[in-house]
Symmetry: C2
Subunit: 336 residues, 2 copies
Amino acid sequence: MADLKQIEIARLAGVSQATVSRVLKGDPQVNDEMRERVLAVVQELGYVPDARAQSLRSQRTRLLGLVVHRAPDALAGDPFFSALIASIIEQAGRHDYHLCVDTARTARSQRAIYEELLRTRRVDGLILVESETHDKRIERLSCEGFPFVLIGRYDPADAVCSVDNDNVGAAFMATDYLLRTGRRRIAYIGGPAGLTVTRDRLQGYKNALESHGVGYDPRLLAFAEFTERSAASAMAELLSLTPPPDAVVGLDDLIALSAMREAKRHGCRVPDDIAFIGFNDSPLCRYVEPSLTSIAVEIPVLARKAAEMLIALIEGREPQPKRQIVPARLVKRESA
Amino acid sequence: MADLKQIEIARLAGVSQATVSRVLKGDPQVNDEMRERVLAVVQELGYVPDARAQSLRSQRTRLLGLVVHRAPDALAGDPFFSALIASIIEQAGRHDYHLCVDTARTARSQRAIYEELLRTRRVDGLILVESETHDKRIERLSCEGFPFVLIGRYDPADAVCSVDNDNVGAAFMATDYLLRTGRRRIAYIGGPAGLTVTRDRLQGYKNALESHGVGYDPRLLAFAEFTERSAASAMAELLSLTPPPDAVVGLDDLIALSAMREAKRHGCRVPDDIAFIGFNDSPLCRYVEPSLTSIAVEIPVLARKAAEMLIALIEGREPQPKRQIVPARLVKRESA
DNA sequence: TTGTAAGCGTTATCAC
DNA sequence: GTGATAACGCTTACAA
């Protein structure tokens, strides 16, 4: 069973080993009668070619690589990555590719992992997430001509293949929705001020206010760390304004959620007194009370497109366009 | 850069290609002077051996396989798998192994995936989760002598290598706690009835009832798929009983949460009218209202042990003991 | 101690 | 059309 190779099939079918290979590859040049004979033996013995030998010979492993920069416990709680992984696997599977996932916590181990995956040719291509603005890895991969696709933003945008969600558009969508439902004093709680996502979404927020002719009040802006407490205290401060905000756009679901809790603790009714919108449409949203309206960034779409692009690159097709933007989607629930 | 092989290193270092291989393998037989020469060239050119060639030659891919039986969207929201994946990767990495994750939704595709991973020798071993009581895959793998470790239970227990959390004990712990806090009509919502985890936890539930001398009422049992709707409708049915349950043990946090929401929608107060306990202590638990009491199964420990055992098997060491049990832990919150 | 050479199981290029 | 045969890049007897 274990040592079943083409040569064995060939012997039993009374043909040469090369013919077995041809039949398996679907070569149209082979005689029907021989094809039948070979396929019969293959079927009977359940022969499947050895991926290792194929990899060496074809210089292709049919393995996509994904490296995640999170400690295991951080990864564990993050719905983004599990969604990403699951969707990449699915899309890869359609093209008969598999996914190899690695984690790299420290900067050193990151370099090592990339080095390893790239140089050992263990994977045919890489999907990169959470890249920084000037990312050595990216320059490196570009130089080497190694196939890779970025999830996120990069400048110059057309230098690399990338997919991203439309952060400006997503925040516009959230704010616009609140304005349409009659809210006028809309606060924005961002994450750390340096993050591009914080800034992009702030931009979308401003755009929406402007498009409705609603004045922009800088006092309604707050920035929080990614902790419950930080978001809560930002919210407390916003509530001390007169008049207080009647809606809040939070950078992500956890921030929105923590803010919402704080508001409730101050006796606000949600959504009557104040509405809340988060981002990511994480599983959490459905389970809290009131359930949290959220802007879904379509991670499965993102992942599918990334995998699709990467496979195209690997197989020598130049993806067009090189940059794809996935629109966001409003998931309406009780909080707004 | 791309076509850098040992023979090239050998040429530049003025040695034979075999010597390069020996140096890289850390063979103590080689002359120090030669080793220096070779390593210098290796360093300078940043040579790394081709994993594909190594795989073919050594008959080892250094890849562990994990197959997950969930649709991508079900996987996406499930903290269990992300925790599992993350911890396996980490442990594997310590031994210079990588992880290949696949999903298989349908029974047919499951077979196909196993077939593929096993027969193509794409991975050196498999970690199996969510096995069923009489699992063809397991018999198959055993027959073939393919290295694999089960996360979960299997009979006879010493036929295969496995790690498991103490599901019977965990459910006992949950049910016992509810009984001690005065609950008497305790319902159990399992997952699909064939799953061993469903049955083991049912057993623990029954054991606890018995140990408290509380009668077992089969009407208080329900089985749900791993979807919100399914758990909710199971809960709705339980609520229609007279009298309704005063506590629910859910197979996992998501099931417990979905059930809890359904109960609240029916006007039940939690925990006053009805208490809820889930399993896994997922991040979600803290954010819902009321926060969910949960039995923590130590997934990282489970994953680490599984990976450790699998690697031992692959490398020809017989793990002792063949079965490892990881105890559970009660995390008390508001819902019970 | 180092070099030579025979595979590992495929695929692909030749002749026939 | 089909069958030898040479790679693919590495490991490892075996020879020197």
